[in-house]
C-alpha cells in the first residue's frame, strides 16, 4: 500500500535537520511498505550541481562474483564520460559500493550529461539538481538513513516513500522517489496504482521521454516534466495530472522551492496534512506527523481531486 510523507519549512531557511525529521516520519510508516525507502531532500544551493547515481543494484552484489570488477569499470566509464563532456567533478562521495554522489561544475545541457552517462550498462542517474539529493535503497528508513548518513542532512524541505512493491520488482530502480528527468530539482513520490500507465508511457516515450523502470509511479514524474517543459507551472501541471492519470493515487512532488500534493478524484488513497505557520507536514497517516510533535496538532484530510502547493 506504500507510505508517503513530506515536510516543508516556510521560514527557517536551509539549515533545518530535515534528514532526521523525514527519517522519523518514514520509520513510522514502515508498516505501509517494508521493501524500500527513499528520500528526495533539498539542501543549500552552493552553485554546483549534485549528481546522484548508482552503478548496480544492491541485490547484484550477492548474485555475481564479477560484479565488484564491473562496478569499478562502470565508475571509470562514468568518470571518463563526464570528463569528455567537460563536467568538472569537485567532490565525490560513495555511501555504498554502488551508490555515488558527485558534486559537479557544469553550465551546459544536463540532459545530455544524463543521457550519455546512463548509456553505460547498469548505470542509472537518480537525480540531478542544484539542491535536490535523491537517495533510495532497500530496507526501512532507519537502515537507509544509517547507510547514507541522512540524519545530519540539513535543508528546507523533502519528500519520502516507504514502498510495498505491487506493480514491479523489489529493487532500487523501482523504489521511489522518482526524479522528473530531465528537470533538475524535481522529484515525485506516489501511493496508489495507475491503470493507464502503459498507454500513457508509450505516448510519452514517442515524445522522447525516457523511463528507467517499469514502476507506474514514474509516469507521474515524467508527465509533470513533460507539462513543465511545455511551460506549465507546477500547480497547473498537477491539476492537469488529476485528469490525465487514471487509477487511485495520492502523490507528492517537490521542486527547489515548492512542495505539492495531489489526490485522485475518488480520494481513494490517504493523506493527512498539518499546516502550521512555519512548517507543513504531510503523511499517509497522522501517526507519522505526530513523531515530530509532543503536543496536540490540528490536521485534516484533503478532498477528492484536490491539489495543493506550498512555497518555501
Amino acid at each position: 500500500m506504500c507510505g508517503i510523507a513530506g515536510i516543508i519549512h516556510k521560514k527557517a531557511g536551509k539549515d533545518v535537520n530535515i534528514g532526521e525529521q523525514m527519517t522519523s516520519m518514514l520509520q513510522a510508516l514502515k508498516h505501509r511498505g517494508p521493501d524500500s525507502t527513499g528520500y528526495a531532500m533539498y539542501g543549500e544551493d552552493n552553485g554546483n550541481q549534485i549528481l546522484r547515481f548508482k552503478v548496480a543494484e544492491a541485490a547484484d552484489l550477492e548474485g555475481s562474483y564479477d560484479i565488484h570488477a564491473a562496478i569499478i569499470d562502470r565508475l571509470e566509464a562514468v568518470n571518463a564520460r563526464l570528463t569528455e563532456l567537460g563536467v568538472k567533478v569537485v567532490n565525490k562521495e560513495s555511501p555504498t559500493e554502488y551508490a555515488h554522489r558527485y558534486e559537479v561544475k557544469f553550465s551546459g545541457d544536463m540532459k545530455k550529461v544524463a543521457d550519455f552517462v546512463e548509456d553505460i550498462e547498469g548505470v542509472e542517474i537518480l537525480s540531478i539538481g542544484n539542491s535536490l539529493e535523491l537517495i533510495k535503497d532497500l530496507g526501512d528508513a532507519s537502515v537507509v538513513s544509517e547507510q547514507y548518513g541522512l540524519n545530519e542532512f540539513s535543508g528546507s524541505h523533502g519528500i519520502g516513500h516507504t514502498r510495498m512493491a505491487t506493480e514491479s520488482d523489489v529493487d532500487i530502480r523501482s523504489a521511489h522517489p522518482y526524479w522528473a528527468y530531465p528537470f533538475s530539482d524535481v522529484a515525485v513520490v506516489h501511493n496508489g496504482q495507475l491503470t493507464n500507465y502503459w498507454t500513457n508511457r508509450r505516448s510519452l516515450e514517442r515524445s522522447g521521454h525516457r523511463f528507467s523502470s517499469n514502476c507506474d509511479s514514474e509516469l507521474i514524474a515524467v508527465y509533470l516534466a513533460d507539462r513543465m517543459s511545455q511551460g506549465a507551472d507546477l500547480e497547473t501541471a498537477m491539476k492537469d495530472s488529476v485528469e490525465y492519470l487514471d487509477g487511485v493515487f495520492t502523490y507528492l512532488v517537490a521542486t527547489k522551492d515548492q512542495l505539492g500534493m495531489a489526490k485522485d478524484v475518488m480520494a481513494a488513497k490517504p493523506m493527512v496534512v498539518y499546516e502550521g505557520d512555519d512548517m507543513i507536514a504531510l503523511a499517509s497517516e497522522e501517526v507519522a506527523i505526530r513523531t515530530l510533535f509532543d503536543h496536540h496538532i490540528e490536521t485534516f484530510d484533503p478532498y477528492h481531486g484536490e491539489v495543493k502547493v506550498w512555497q518555501n
Binding site: 501517526v287 490540528e298 485534516f300 478532498y303 477528492h304
Partner: protein
C-alpha cells in the same frame, strides 16, 4: 451487564432502528436481556475511574490495559497520549465511559457495542467501523470511511470528515459537523446520516435505504439517491438529535435537505420505512 434504562436508551436513540427485512426479524430489544450479553463484556461501575498514560505503549498494550481495568469493574477510563496510534479502543462490548485526550489513528473504536467514547482530537480512517451501539464523539476532524458499516449507536464528528463516510451503513446515526467527502453514504442500507456542512460528489451512490440530511451544498448526487420531503418529524428528530451533542445546523434544521433511495431493490420488500415511499 449494567442495567440499561429503557427511557434513557430511547432518548439517546439507541434502539430506534428496527430492522424488518426478510432475514433479520429483530436487531435490538431492550426487553430481551440475552441480546445484550456478550462473552468478554463486563459489569462496570462508571463512578470508578482510572487513567492510562499511553505514551510508551503499543496499541495492543493499550487495549489490554483497558480490558483489564474493565475486568476490575472500572467504568470511567481516560487514555492520555494516544499519539494517533491505530486500532485503539476496539472490541468493547459493554457500557463504559472512555475518553481519549488526543487524536487516534486508523480503525479507532471499531467493533464496539455499548461504550460512550469521547475523543478530544481527530481520528484517522475507518473510525468506529462496525459499531453496534453506544456513542463516539470526536471533537476535531475525521479521515475517510468514517463509520463504515455501522449498525447502531451515534457516531459524531464535530469537524469535517473524508470520503466514503458511512459506506455500507446498516443502522445507527452518523453526524458530521462540517463537510463530508465524495461517495458518502455509498451503499447505505439503513440508518441516518446528518451532515451540517457540504457533501462531496456521488452522495448516497447505490444506497438501498436509509436517510441522509445535508445542511450545506451537495456537489452531486450518486446513482439511486434522490431528494426526499422534509416532514415535521424530520425537523423534530434533527433538532433533538443535534441538541444531544450541543450541535446546531448553521442555517437551521428546517432548511436542511433530505435524501433517500430512489429505487426499490430486489431484496427489499413492502416493509420498507415509509419515508422512502414518498419519492417513489
Amino acid at each position: 451487564m449494567a442495567e440499561l434504562r429503557k427511557e434513557t436508551s430511547q432518548e439517546m436513540g439507541l434502539h430506534e432502528e428496527q430492522l424488518k427485512g426478510r432475514t433479520q426479524k429483530k436487531f435490538f430489544s431492550i426487553d430481551e436481556s440475552e441480546n445484550l450479553t456478550y462473552f468478554h463484556s463486563f459489569d462496570v461501575d462508571t463512578s470508578k475511574s482510572a487513567t492510562i498514560d499511553a505514551l510508551e505503549m503499543t496499541p495492543r498494550e493499550i487495549n489490554r490495559e483497558i480490558r483489564e481495568l474493565m475486568e476490575k469493574g472500572i467504568g470511567d477510563i481516560t487514555v492520555d497520549n494516544p499519539m494517533s496510534r491505530h486500532g485503539v479502543g476496539v472490541g468493547i462490548l459493554n457500557r463504559l465511559n472512555l475518553t481519549f485526550s488526543d487524536s487516534l489513528g486508523y480503525f479507532g473504536c471499531g467493533l464496539i457495542d455499548g461504550p460512550n467514547v469521547h475523543i478530544k482530537g481527530r481520528v484517522g480512517w475507518s473510525c468506529a467501523e462496525n459499531m453496534m451501539a453506544g456513542t463516539v464523539v470526536i471533537d476535531k476532524n475525521a479521515g475517510s470511511t468514517f463509520g463504515a458499516a455501522i449498525r447502531g449507536g451515534d457516531l459524531v464528528c464535530k469537524g469535517s470528515v473524508g470520503a466514503r463516510t458511512g459506506i455500507d451503513q446498516k443502522g445507527g446515526t452518523i453526524i458530521v459537523g462540517g463537510k463530508t467527502g465524495a461517495f458518502s453514504g455509498f451503499m447505505m442500507q439503513r440508518g441516518r446520516m446528518i451532515v451540517l456542512g457540504d457533501a462531496g460528489m456521488n452522495l448516497g451512490d447505490s444506497m438501498y435505504d436509509g436517510t441522509i440530511y445535508v445542511g450545506g451544498e451537495v456537489e452531486e448526487l450518486g446513482v439511486d439517491c434522490v431528494p426526499g420531503e422534509m416532514t415535521e418529524l424530520d425537523v423534530r428528530y434533527l433538532t433533538d438529535k443535534l441538541a444531544l451533542y450541543g450541535m446546531k445546523s448553521p442555517r437551521g434544521v428546517e432548511k436542511m435537505q433530505k435524501y433517500v433511495s430512489g429505487k426499490q431493490l430486489w431484496n427489499y420488500d413492502n416493509l420498507e420505512p415509509s419515508e422512502k415511499k414518498l419519492v417513489l
